[in-house]
């Protein structure tokens, strides 16, 4: 039915299967949209945020999804600026993931503020000394860059490309993509960093505060570094998940392994820096304010914030995946590769959770206690919404756009006839549940 839109030389599942799949994801999306409208109309009392928790699930989701979308800027940096040509086979997908992540982040921010109609004040009445100002500007600008990087892909759709202007436009944009990638890398460095600066500059919150250099706390650099390290892991994870769902190899192993190796070494560097930073904070910074390390990890309800969380973040989700990814064997073995990328993704999500939620939960006044928090259903629905949106975006993009340059080579078909374009058992798409099952519980809010 829609075969004219499908790229040449590849097979896709029948339209009805595709529509069923989109419909299922769409239902989840609608649930989220309903919750979002409730929040817009009734206000932030729809959440379980309170005066102790000014930032909660959404801000965590924002930070997590931006960190995970860091694969776009870092892969772009490696491909266009460092010139690692092999990555051209995965950069399109990385850009798509980045586009989904950043549009989700902006969407969430729009309803997270108390007065959405005044959201433009952050631009118009900008306080240049605030980390959040920096975040808002760079996020928005980088989203423009991602649009610019994604648009050529859309223009390469078989039918759209037939229009000469669009064809030429796509070609020209590709030609100077390095300039956009460089700008994107510059912007990303700063907004990833500024998100780290958000807790880092709060000198009256000893759990979040860090010393730093000039106006930048160390968390600024740690956040950028972790996004550059774990973003590609997320790209690898989603690529392999997509391959599982569509039951096709889409990217050659050597490309994945190269990206995994680079990611592994970035992760190694990051985790060393993180360990040093954590030690210094626990030994010097926090004690100067009257807090020992264990003050931040004891006496909280249900031990939700026990020392296990620090060990998990650094050792299980930092050191372990780094060790796996820097070894050939670790990268080539599918089980260890999957484990490593999932742990790295979890690690960066956990880091963002700790730096926002634990900061706010931990009491500072000595006569106050830990503040407990659990998100409301509206918060959960709106956080799952970008996950559904991502599924839909990836599905549509995969179906109609030449996202994977190596797909044809890896999946040769005799001749692009109408029979070949009908379903083989691409019923894999129907069998997988709407939320990509292996990912869902491990990647609770890809949004």
């Amino acid at each position: 039915m829609d075969s004219a839109l499908i790229p040449e030389g590849v097979k896709r599942c029948p339209t009805w299967q595709f529509l069923l799949w989109i419909g299922a994801a769409g239902a989840v999306l609608l649930w989220g949209v309903f919750a979002m409208l409730l929040v817009y109309i009734k206000g932030l009392n729809q959440t379980n945020m309170n005066n102790a928790y000014g930032f909660a699930l959404w801000i965590w989701a924002d930070l997590a999804v931006i960190a995970l979308g860091g694969g776009a800027f870092f892969t772009g940096f490696l491909r266009y600026l460092i010139g690692i040509d092999k990555l051209k086979n995965i950069i399109n997908f990385a850009v798509l993931i980045g586009f989904i992540c950043y549009s989700s982040a902006l969407l969430i921010l729009a309803f997270d503020v108390g007065q959405p109609l005044r959201a433009w004040f952050i631009f118009w009445h900008a306080n240049v000394h605030s980390m959040l100002t920096e975040v808002a500007f760079c996020l928005t600008c980088y989203f423009f860059v991602l649009c610019i990087e994604y648009i050529p892909l859309v223009l390469e759709n078989r039918q759209i490309s037939k229009v000469p202007f669009f064809h030429n436009l796509s070609h020209n944009m590709h030609e100077i993509m390095a300039i956009f990638a460089a700008t994107g890398a510059f912007l990303s460095f700063f907004h990833q960093g500024s998100l780290g600066g958000v807790p880092g500059v709060m000198f009256a919150r000893p759990f979040g505060f860090r010393e730093g250099i000039l106006v930048w706390p160390w968390t600024f650099f740690l956040f950028t570094w972790s996004a550059a390290a774990c973003g590609p892991c997320f790209t690898i994870f989603v690529t392999k998940l997509t391959e599982k769902i569509v039951r096709k190899k889409l990217v050659k192993d050597d490309v994945i392994e190269l990206l995994a190796k680079i990611s592994g070494w970035m992760l190694t560097g990051y985790i060393v820096a993180k360990i040093i930073d954590t030690w210094y904070w626990a030994a010097v910074t926090a004690p100067a304010k009257g807090f020992s390390l264990m003050d931040f990890y004891t006496n909280n309800p249900g031990s939700a914030y026990g020392i296990w969380i620090l060990v998990t973040e650094i050792v299980l989700c930092g050191v372990l995946p780094a060790l796996i990814l820097i070894t050939n064997k670790g990268r080539q073995n599918q089980i260890t590769l999957w484990t490593a990328v999932i742990l790295a993704v979890l690690g960066v999500c956990l880091n963002r959770w700790v730096m926002i939620l634990q900061v706010l939960s931990a009491p500072v006044l000595p006569f106050e206690n830990w503040f407990p928090y659990f998100p409301s259903w509206q918060e959960i629905a709106t956080t799952v919404m970008p996950l559904a949106y991502g599924v839909i975006m990836i599905s549509i993009s995969y179906r109609y756009l030449p996202i994977f340059p190596q797909e044809q080579e890896l999946n040769p078909i005799a001749a692009p006839s109408s029979q070949a374009l009908k379903a083989e058992p691409e019923a894999a798409e129907l069998q997988a549940p709407p939320e990509e099952a292996p990912g869902a519980e491990l990647d609770p809010a890809k949004a």
């Binding site: 005066n51 004040f121 605030s130 500059v201 020992s292 003050d295 006569f367």
Partner: protein, 267 residues
Amino acid sequence: MKHEKAKKFGMVIDLDKCTGCGSCMVACMAENNVPFREDDTDKMLSVFWLHVYTLTNGKSFPNYEECYLPRPCMQCEGHHGHSPCVSVCPATATDYDMNTGIVSQIYTRCFGCRYCMGACPYHVRQNNWWDPLWPDGMEKSLNPNVSVRMRGIVEKCSFCFHRYQLALDQAYMENRRELEEHEYQTACTQACPAGAITFGDLNNPAHAVHQIAKPDIRHGGKPGNPKAFRLLERLGTNPKVYYISSREWVRRAGDNYLMNEGKVRRS
């Protein structure tokens, strides 16, 4: 006004006198049009600019002691006007005034990002999670000098800044530029039946707050009075609310210490 010394309005709260009656909280709510809900039991969602805490010494009978601690906005100065909440606001909706020492909150500018709420360690900032609703007829008792805030906006104690403006207006009309100590007083100060709260200009040696707290300007406003302390002194927020207590455990309860740490900071 150019050549006059900058003022630093601050408060001294005598915890030996505070009975925990809550009159200050009520007066503040009435004076500043602070909204409330029909069911206000969840205090984490309530708006209360002044909050009275109950502190205990953690011992059991017969050594149990408690103390009531009213906590308005600390109007932190930080280092040279860098209050923890001011520098983080992305829309410049809050500002530290070097002339009065008061941290303002511009309700029409705030778009409710709540970063300032996270930055404040004292939880003095609250968000309007709902639109304010006044019972029928009560809107007539609202203070016309204080704007009402809407949903999504963060608010906090302003040291009754509108009273400062009114007092200045009065002085101007009388051809004066300086205010007497009694001309600008906050609602909570005046409401306290025990006289536990004293308010005035910390920079003015003639004012009671200066004489009681003896702030050391060269060392971040640290109190010279051995009975005086400030909450979370070690964080470097340089707050303007000083507490007096003759009880050692109360003074210690105002800050965090490491195990086995005395009053002197451990190296």
